[in-house]
């Protein structure tokens, strides 16, 4: 598109988000208090805004080239199909796959369901064992629970304190009844990167399919399905600056992965996923992947600098804070930090100017603290004190400095209000107290 300068667009987008934050900062005592203030967005693992370039790419397919990509008989259909296939190629290129191996879905949840249930159901007469990890996303864990009700055996591997699996435990768990191993590439809460290539090698050697939920990994770390011996891989559009409502599943063709469909109908997507493809969404995902392929390296470097600035800034001013998950094997945009003696939901209320999430029980409807943090062996009281900070493409140094200020202020204020902090300052060992449970 002539005249469209991506760098200017990104800067404009950053400036826009900064202006929103700035208005929050400068207008706090201003008469303009009534207008809605947008917090600084630091929740990039929850979702990402569409890259403006992605939206530009999608627009023509809503009102001009709106044809059904499966309509074979006229140019409306052909144009839509061409766009979808171009997107498919971009998605494949990002992970080192062939375009014939990419199936569009409604998102990573559907891709995970399809991969795990699809393979399990196909194999159930010969192989009825599944291996996954305690820290997987709910859609993986719940799909496995559901399969258990159908009679499958599932092994939920524990993780070490750094959040990674023990490869020896994986090897020991595989039997000749194991149909599939599912291990997420990057964890959504703590950002740690599992040893995907090693897992792939182990599974290939034992003749077991290896599926990885790569929703938080695609476009952030290099992935190569052949080098890493991956058989199935889930992709999420809205985690990589693409639109919500679209994802993909990579399904290996050589050697062929055999899988049952979940959704039946007209036989689209090689029979694996019927339904008319949402052309604009497919185009959006394709564009997001194309951008990621070009910019992933530089973006990772930039985010690492910001992330280190954020963590070091907090550590310099707050004692007793802990990073959850491996400090090195993690994606650059994620920080999951426990602030001892201060409860997470209370803390989030004190940093309303920041959009973040917490592993505290109080923020979940079930009052259970984060199962991921529990799996790491983080003690319950520290799990209640955690914040997940996620940086991304449009985060700036200004955002980071703003966040540091607000978090330090809120934590300091809440520690002054905290009986646990008081006890710690007095040298009392909190663990030695017998608490009256309620």
């Amino acid at each position: 598109m002539s005249g469209f300068n991506p760098q200017l667009e990104i800067k404009a987008r950053q400036a826009h988000m900064n202006t929103q934050a700035h208005m929050t900062m400068t207008n706090s005592n201003h008469a303009l208090e009534n207008r809605p203030k947008l917090p600084v967005y630091l929740d990039y693992q929850a979702t990402t805004p569409c890259d403006p370039r992605v939206v530009q790419a999608m627009l023509p397919y809503f009102t001009e080239k709106f044809g059904n990509p499966h309509s074979r008989n006229h140019s409306y259909g052909w144009d839509a199909e061409e766009a979808v296939e171009k997107a498919r190629a971009e998605i494949a290129a990002l992970i080192g796959a062939d375009e014939k191996e990419i199936i569009f879905t409604s998102g990573a949840t559907e891709s995970n369901n399809l991969a795990i249930k699809g393979v399990a159901h196909f194999q159930k007469d010969r192989k009825n064992h599944i291996i996954t990890v305690a820290t997987e996303h709910k859609c993986v864990l719940d799909s496995c629970r559901h399969l258990e009700l159908e009679g499958f055996q599932v092994t939920y591997l524990p993780v070490m304190q750094n959040g990674l699996i023990d490869l020896e435990q994986l090897k020991a768990a595989i039997t000749d009844k194991t149909a599939i191993v599912s291990v997420m590439a990057v964890n959504n809460e703590i950002g740690v990167i599992q040893p995907i290539a090693e897992i792939g090698a182990i599974c290939r050697a034992r003749g077991v399919y290896f599926h990885t939920d790569a929703a938080q990994a695609v476009g952030k770390i290099p992935l190569d399905v052949n080098a890493m011996k991956i058989d199935l891989l889930s992709i999420s559009g809205h985690k990589i600056y693409g639109p919500k409502g679209i994802g993909a599943l990579y399904v290996r063709r050589k050697p062929r992965v055999r899988m049952e469909a979940l959704i039946h109908g007209g036989g689209q997507e090689r029979g694996f996923r019927s339904g008319t493809l949402p052309t604009p969404l497919c185009v959006g995902l394709g564009e997001a992947c194309a951008i990621a392929r070009k910019e992933m390296g530089a973006e990772a470097e930039r985010l690492k600098v910001l992330r280190d600035r954020l963590y070091n800034g907090l550590k310099a001013r707050l004692p007793d804070i802990y990073l959850n998950g491996d400090p090195d094997r993690r994606i650059p945009g994620n920080l999951n930090v426990s602030f001892a003696y201060v409860e997470g939901e209370g803390l989030m209320m004190g940093i309303k100017e920041l959009a973040v999430s917490s592993g505290s029980a109080c923020t979940s409807a079930s009052l259970e603290p984060s199962y991921v943090l529990r799996a790491l062996g983080v003690e319950e009281e520290l799990a209640h004190t955690s914040l997940r900070l996620g940086l991304g493409r449009f985060s700036t140094e200004q955002d980071v400095d703003y966040a540091i200020e607000h978090i330090v202020q809120a934590v300091t204020r809440l520690r002054e209000m905290s009986p646990l902090w008081e006890m710690a300052q007095e040298g009392i060992d909190i663990k030695s107290i017998e608490w009256a449970e309620h």
Binding site: V342, G346, M349, S360, H384, M417, P419, E422, W435, A436
Partner: protein, 139 residues
């Protein structure tokens, strides 16, 4: 979580945060909850010679609802006798703050904290009376 204005007010401007001096007399301290549950409240009452609660202080490790509930509790106990303070119900706290259903347990903990502080005060009082009784007997 969408909180009521009253709750947010207590969170932004909590009443009576702090602690009495360690050796201060006529103080009862209630410590309830557990860090593992994400809720710990410490509520202290200072009882005057007239048997009424002259001052109260609190510290809380917990969510916005917990902080507001305990802040409100310190407000409400002031000026009451021990028996009157014991009558404060968690339902009243929850209603005043419009606590969402999933947060009602925070108000229960606040009620427990009040009762625990009163119990502690009474036990210390009994201890003082026994001690002065012994002292008198020893003379």
């Amino acid at each position: 979580m969408a909180y009521s204005e009253k709750l947010l007010e207590h969170y932004d401007n909590p009443r009576n945060v702090g602690a009495f001096e360690k050796g201060e007399g006529n103080v009862g301290t209630g410590l309830v909850g557990a860090p593992a549950c994400g809720d710990v409240m410490k509520l202290q009452i200072k009882v005057g010679a007239d048997g009424r609660i002259a001052d109260a202080k609190f510290k809380t490790f917990g969510c916005g609802s917990a902080i507001a509930s305990s802040s409100l509790a310190t407000e409400w106990v002031k000026g009451k006798t021990l028996e009157e303070a014991e009558q404060i119900k968690n339902t009243e706290i929850a209603q005043h703050l419009s606590l969402p259903p999933v947060k009602i347990h925070c108000s229960v903990l606040a009620e427990d904290a009040i009762k625990a502080a009163i119990k502690d005060f009474r036990e210390k009082q009994e201890g003082r009376e026994k001690q002065s009784g012994k002292d008198k007997a020893a003379e």
